[in-house]
């Protein structure tokens, strides 16, 4: 199966080498962090989680969003999604591995990570996050592998795979719910302690994930001549539109409760994100850019005629993805620590080392995805 990823044109190999170069650079940065400690990052006593945990959270969402193609394909038998479901499942596999890598690089003592299994702590949400993420990885890997190997042999997927696929649907919801519970159960962090956190995570995931999938399909149409059809892209665009609208609605709901209630802690957290309190810009500009991108994307997505234009749709998908990546992938996590319980605002800016390590992990994710898609498409094309 894997041998199908070893043949390719000049552009394919250029892309692979580019990714490998990024991975090597990331690994070098990680060696630096490993030998010095997490002091090489921008994190501090006050802002004790940053880019890594933000990226972890964001990619859990991308992984969970596979369910947005699995549900139509397997529950509603939407024929247009037949060619997309496998892409979603493989995206989930790559994303979960990216999540796990982001957790690993965030640990102060990564060599001790197996303590989570040796001394399991069911009272910790992190324990359940580990259970749900590894379970989801296993489910998607099993589904994708068996679907593809059956296709390779020209057979139908085995019958037992159906219940596994059905199980992966609630499981996808669970991974992002449990990830939201990591934050929403902390009384120390008013910005996070909101019941709407889990639904908001799911909504933003179901916008960002399918947006990425649309972009990936556009790339595959060009580079691999793999065309799932206009109808499929149109359906995905509808999903992105609904999810992005619901996600924005939930952000506004959060703003209302936080601001109207007038409770200082809640208000200060939101002020940090949107209003640069005391001239402390921190994440404010970052959040403004994210908000503007989302408004612009919605303006395009909500107009059917614009949504049908390939260029406008691609731009809107980029905007949705980047906007949510900025918000969930960094600002929301840092925002939870600002102001600190003692009322201090601490500047957090990811260092070059931090960006370098993140780049390495994204490249690992992109490499996995490239290989997975290459194999999957080769099998699909050969089967026809």
């Amino acid at each position: 199966m894997i041998e199908k990823a070893l043949t390719g044109g000049k552009r394919y190999w250029f892309w692979i080498s580019l990714l490998l170069a990024c991975i090597v650079a990331g690994a070098a940065m990680y060696m630096r962090q490993l030998s010095y400690g997490l002091g090489v990052t921008g994190m501090s006593r006050q802002v004790s989680w940053g880019l890594y945990i933000g990226q972890f959270t964001f990619f859990v969402g991308v992984a969970a969003s596979a369910v947005m193609v699995v549900i139509p394909c397997y529950l509603h038998d939407t024929k247009q999604f037949a060619k997309i479901a496998i892409l979603g499942e493989l995206l989930a596999v790559a994303s979960i591995i990216v999540c796990m890598l982001f957790i690993m690089v965030d640990l102060g003592q990564p060599a001790r990570v197996l303590n989570v299994l040796l001394y399991p702590a069911p009272h910790s949400v992190m324990f359940w996050d580990m259970v749900s993420l590894s379970g989801y990885l296993l489910l998607n890997a099993v589904v994708a592998y068996n679907t593809l190997s059956a296709e390779q042999k020209g057979l139908h997927a085995p019958q037992w795979l159906k219940p596994v696929i059905y199980l992966s649907i609630p499981w996808a919801v669970s991974i992002h719910t449990v990830t939201a519970f990591l934050y929403s159960g902390l009384s120390a962090r008013p910005l996070w302690m909101s019941a709407v956190m889990a639904p908001r995570f799911l909504a933003s995931a179901f916008a960002a994930g399918p947006a990425l999938l649309i972009l990936l399909i556009i790339v595959l149409q060009k580079s691999a001549r793999y065309d799932p059809g206009e109808a499929a892209i149109g359906k995905l665009a509808t999903i992105v539109t609904y999810a992005a609208s619901i996600s924005t609605f939930l952000v506004l709901v959060e703003l209302f409760t936080g601001l109207y209630s007038g409770i200082p802690h809640d208000r200060e957290g939101l002020a940090y994100q949107y209003a640069a309190p005391h001239g402390f810009w921190g994440m404010t500009l970052w959040m403004w850019i994210s908000s503007v991108l989302m408004i612009a994307a919605l303006a395009v997505l909500l107009v059917p005629r614009l949504r049908q234009s390939r260029v406008a749709l691609a731009a809107a998908c980029v905007a949705v993805f980047v906007s949510l990546w900025m918000e969930k992938g960094l600002a929301l996590i840092v925002g939870g620590f600002e102001p600190s319980p003692l009322g201090t605002l601490t500047a957090y800016r990811p260092t070059c080392t931090e960006w370098g390590i993140a780049l390495g992990i994204w490249a690992i994710g992109a490499l996995m995805l490239t290989v997975f898609y290459k194999v999957a498409i080769a099998i699909r094309t050969a089967a026809r």
Binding site: Y36, G37, L38, G39, M43, S44, R45, Q46, S48, W49, I103, D106, L107, G108, Q109, P110, R112, V113, N115, V116, L117, L118, Y119, P120, A121, P122, H123, S124, V125, M126, F127, M130, L138, L182, G185, L186, S187, A188, R189, P264, G336, F337, S340, P341, L342, G343, T344, T346
Partner: protein, 251 residues
């Protein structure tokens, strides 16, 4: 015996799942079997901060703690390691500062781990590297901590520090009777459990010139701390969060 890659992966995953499943069952059983801690002390501290001689440049409690526990002097403020430290009244109790005498609101208080009766930090720890002892002390196992810093996110009192670099090079004068830490773990005040075990009171309490720190057993009605809590108005930090702090600030 010849193993294919697939068989190897399946066997290792099954072994890992088996081991962790067994561990999970044992840990749940142990938690279910643990009974209440009657008859044990519950250690607590009252800070009579107006007796503090900070205005005469006294820093004895901090210095004593630093030496007793090999706390590093980290130059970057962002990476500071603090077990006991000073903070102004108005930042500790911002809701109780308006219209209050500025002499009070600009008074420094000693902050340390609250050794909560219902600690959020131990609840979130994924490895049990921080846990609550029967006598109320919230402990840390620096050999088990994986450095995920979830406890720091969960603590509403900023009482936890992380070793962002190797702390060993930054300790002025190492106390051989207490362990040093490695980089990448979380640390905090341990209420001098090592001294309590020897029948001594915490180092900060012993060194306090003005007798501003009162330490004792909340389960003993005749203890000094119970007497002072009965007779004076005492505040806890963010009691509305339900954490049940064991550090009190006397007015």
């Amino acid at each position: 015996m010849k193993l294919t890659r697939k068989e190897f992966l399946i066997t290792s995953a099954a072994t890992l799942a088996g081991i962790s499943g067994t561990k999970l069952v044992t840990s749940v059983k142990a938690a279910a079997a643990s009974t209440g801690e009657d008859g044990k002390p519950r250690w607590a501290m009252a800070v009579d901060f107006q007796k503090c001689q900070w205005d005469q440049g006294c820093n004895q409690c901090i210095a004593a703690c630093k030496h007793a526990h090999n706390i590093p002097d980290v130059p970057e403020k962002a990476h500071e390691v603090k077990w006991i430290w000073k903070e102004l009244y108005k930042s500790v109790f911002p809701q109780q500062s308006e219209w209050v005498d500025p002499a009070l609101t600009s008074h420094p208080l000693m902050l340390l781990c609250n050794h909560c009766s219902n600690p959020p930090c131990t609840r979130v720890c994924p490895t049990g590297a921080t846990w609550k002892r029967g006598d109320g002390i919230v402990m840390m196992d620096w050999h088990r901590c994986i450095g995920c810093r979830y406890c720091m996110a969960a603590c509403p009192y900023e009482s936890r520090s992380f070793d962002f670099g190797d702390p060993r090079g930054e300790i002025a004068n190492i106390n051989p009777d207490f362990p040093t830490r490695t980089k990448g773990v979380v640390e905090k005040c341990n209420f001098c459990e090592e001294r309590l075990g020897r029948g001594q009171c915490p180092a900060c309490v012993e060194e306090c010139r003005g007798h501003a720190l009162i330490f004792g057993d909340l389960n003993d009605p005749a203890s000094e701390i119970r007497t002072v809590l009965r007779s004076r108005y005492a505040m806890q930090r963010s009691p509305e969060l339900g954490t049940g702090p064991s550090v009190f600030y006397l007015l």
